[in-house]
């Protein structure tokens, strides 16, 4: 049975907590608006991780996965390509840091390459699962935009077929920190606040508890 619980409490608390400004017109967000966007970040993190799981899933068609890759790239600053930062400085594409318990090393990949690599991981099956919890820091204003960090936990399991059995060949749990930008962008309808992910860093890599 599908059970949908949509909480009213926070909604109404936000509504009656105070007056809301009109954020799309200004470079300053009220605290209530900041909370709204923080919650939106949480939704995006959830979606991001679910998409990673699907992209890595060997049981799904590659054309479907490519669609998910394209959608995931739009979550990143510059749509995953080189971009100009909020200060006007040219920047390379956002990156994903990856780590391995085997090599004890970390390396960074442009997010697009990372996502494409997920299609071709050398395992018969890959499970990427997320922890239920994540943390989004308070937004800090930096000039005309806001920055936050989000912390997520992912478990990665790569399986290989051995003697007809699916056997875990590699597992780890990583704590990842994502830079979050809340910035103004302009489109034909005017300026608007948008949330974009920046670089993703590995904070810790652990062997999962047995």
């Amino acid at each position: 049975m599908r059970k949908y619980f949509v909480r009213l409490s926070l909604c109404l608390l936000f509504l009656i907590a105070g007056a809301f400004s009109l954020p799309a017109q200004t470079h300053e967000l009220s605290l209530d608006d900041q909370r709204e966007f923080q919650e939106r970040v949480g939704q995006m993190l959830d979606i991001f991780q679910k998409r990673l799981s699907l992209i890595a899933n060997k049981g799904r068609a590659n054309n479907l996965k490519r669609n998910y890759i394209n959608q995931t790239l739009t979550m990143f600053i510059g749509n995953g390509e080189a971009y100009t930062d909020p200060y006007g400085n040219p920047k390379p594409a956002a990156t994903m840091e990856i780590s391995s318990l085997k090599t004890n090393q970390k390396r960074r990949l442009p997010i697009k390459r990372y996502l494409n690599n997920l299609l071709y991981l050398p395992y018969s099956q890959v499970d990427i699962t997320q922890a239920e919890t994540y943390h989004v820091s308070d937004l800090k204003q930096e000039g005309d935009h806001y920055v936050a960090t989000a912390t997520i936990f992912q478990e990665f399991v790569g399986y290989r077929m051995i003697d007809g059995r699916r056997v875990p060949a590699y597992r780890d749990v990583t704590k990842k920190v994502i830079t979050i930008y809340l910035m103004m962008e302009e489109d034909i309808n005017g300026r608007k606040w948008v949330i974009r992910f920046g670089n993703v860093s590995v904070s810790e890599t652990l062997a999962p508890a047995e």
Binding site: C11, I16, P23
Partner: protein, 367 residues
Amino acid sequence: MKYVKWIVALLLLQGATWLNAQTLHGIILADTEDPKIGRFCEKDVQLMHLFMGGVAQTIGYDYSDYILAGGDCTSGNAMEAIRSLQVGPQDIVFFYYTGHGARSMQDTSPFPQMKLKDTMYPLYRIADQIEGRSPRLSIAITDACNSFIAGLPSKGISGGNTYLSKGSSDFYKSLFGQTKGKMRITSSKIGQDSKATEDGGLFTIAFLSTLIEKEQDGSAISWENILSATKSKIEDVHVPYWELKIDRANSGLSSEEAQPSVSASGSVNLQSSSLDKVLARVSSDDEDEGYRVRLSSEVLKKYFASPRSIVEVIGRNGSTLLARESASQFMGRISTSFKLQSFVVLDVQKNAQGRIERLRVHEIYRK
């Protein structure tokens, strides 16, 4: 199975309405052109619309709305809206007015008259009309003054704002889905003004904060309890008045109420009540991912004037612009999202061909 899904999709795209769909009919009157309180009323409209839609989504009902604001806030329009409702036996009709209110020295009803564009109009007449349509649950709320004015119309009387939003499933099913009868509620008793702040009408704020508390503490849920607790919060300022004739009811809500059944009998013109269902289908985690992507493509072609049509995602406060996307971006996103349960369609602007050029929605995620 695959074909069944596509048949369902086809029916959806033919302009679906849901067989036996239960509907929450929202009628909102707002004096948004009043120079003193119009801006509050304007916000009330957004919030009330969002709330009613959210309640409907939460209890598995379709949402059909009439928003009569500004120059449309007339008694004639209100009565025409009520007359035109297709009310089923399990339906809810939820009337809400925000604006000035008053009463004449001769009024005998405990409820105020609403200051509409064409005339002062008593709430009881609206409520009588709605109740005469025999919905399962009739709700009529005014957030307006109820003070005596010698000679109508009156001026300078504060109106109020109402904030309503989506609620937890059980709580709102209990209040809206499992009750029958009628409710008439007004923010102040005979002879009293209603107060409002920049944040909204005092009654409304108290009413909503009571809902929050009751939802959180899990105490006995009944409209009488909620209104009594609301009254205790503000009775030092003004005293709300209500008349309830409410019983428990079997609303016919099923455990799978969010699953629509489908009919091809709807008109080609897009109705918000069907659009939200179509979008929810595209965003549903229960559907195959490939199907969702294909369906999103079909919806984009069928419903939108162009892939560049504008979609705005509005926050729970009814005003924060959380995202503005092209239709193709929006459909691409929702077709690959997770926990995106449903949508409240706040506004649809269509071209001459009936296709969407601009859409404003509120997104409801599952926790």
